[in-house]
Amino acid sequence: MGNSRMKCRKCGRPAAINMRRHKLALCDECYPAWFRGQVERTIRQFGMLAPDDRVLVAVSGGKDSLSVWDVLLRLGYHAEALYIDLGIPDGGYSTESKVRALRFAEARGAVCHVVSVRDRYGLSVPELAMRRGRGHKVCSLCGLVKRHIMNGFAWEGGFSVLVTGHNLDDEAAVLMQNTLTWQPGYLARQSPVLPADSEGLARKVKPLCLMYEREVAAYALVCGIDYIQDECPHAVGARTLFYKEILNQLEQRSPGAKAYFFTQFLRAKQSGAIRFVEGEEVALHACERCGQPTTAPGLCAFCRLWQSDTQGDEG
């Protein structure tokens, strides 16, 4: 202990993390307060949360969601959590991640709701993917299932806002993917705040969207947050990981490159320097089965997934 060449900028103790993009090294005692201050600033900057909001945090048992929940509780928000049990059996992944989410809640006297996909709908996510013949697309199907359950739970539970743990690396990777493939619809929608602009849609915010993934992991480790470190077995080879790798190579050569890429995009959109021509306003309908908003009349993409006699295409 103590043989670090780099010292904490605030107190002079050995540094625990050096953030080259900020030219800032901090020790394990000064870092958590700095991190929480940064998140608080992001919440203010984008008008994400009000003090009296009833907040629902979507937690996976991973570093990002548990860290953002930790920060919100420490900042005094009324924040409950939702853990969605996807039923991923490989190496006990779902069991291990659920245990971590529930332990976290118990240690802080906080509420963590659990929804099991299998208990509620009859099949786990991998089983559903197999049945739909989309074994190779588990991640997109999983995303659809999670978004539907999170939105429905937040809306029906009377929560005023849904918080997710997306960090800057997540956002930059999505931005890179959507830019390289020129997806104006997705680019127009990418934002730290997604408003509840229709009946049945929960407002969604991402308080960690300006924090690097490495900084979030450092926060979790320094604060002793026991999170699941194993990657979801289905994420191996995921395209997001490939884009993150490229972005980290850029960051290695040019500290701050990832943040610049994402924040300048947001700035350009906000100032009107980049504009996406609005298409015709898409009318939303209530799904015939679940009532959640959907673009096409009839069943929403989620409910179509569970029909045994049709293709489970997304829409």
Binding site: N3, S4, I17, R214, A218, A235, A238, K244
Partner: protein, 63 residues
């Protein structure tokens, strides 16, 4: 010797190198990992000493 653990595997490295040297020695990206020495988070410039137990933690997730 310095014992370094990463993703369930163990490596033995010579003392005196920095945490960053250890990361590079294992062929990892310094932007994508963090280093715990004897359970404490250390920055890349920390010098690893004989008997240190080091864990390299991957920080990237996605799907």
């Amino acid at each position: 010797m310095v014992v370094v653990r990463y993703r369930g595997k163990e490596y033995e490295l010579k003392p005196g190198m920095t945490a960053r040297d250890a990361i590079l020695k294992l062929g990892l990206d310094p932007e994508a990992v963090l280093v715990l020495r004897n359970g404490k988070l250390v920055d890349d410039s920390a010098i690893l000493e004989d008997g240190d137990e080091v864990t390299i933690v991957a920080v990237v997730s996605g799907g």
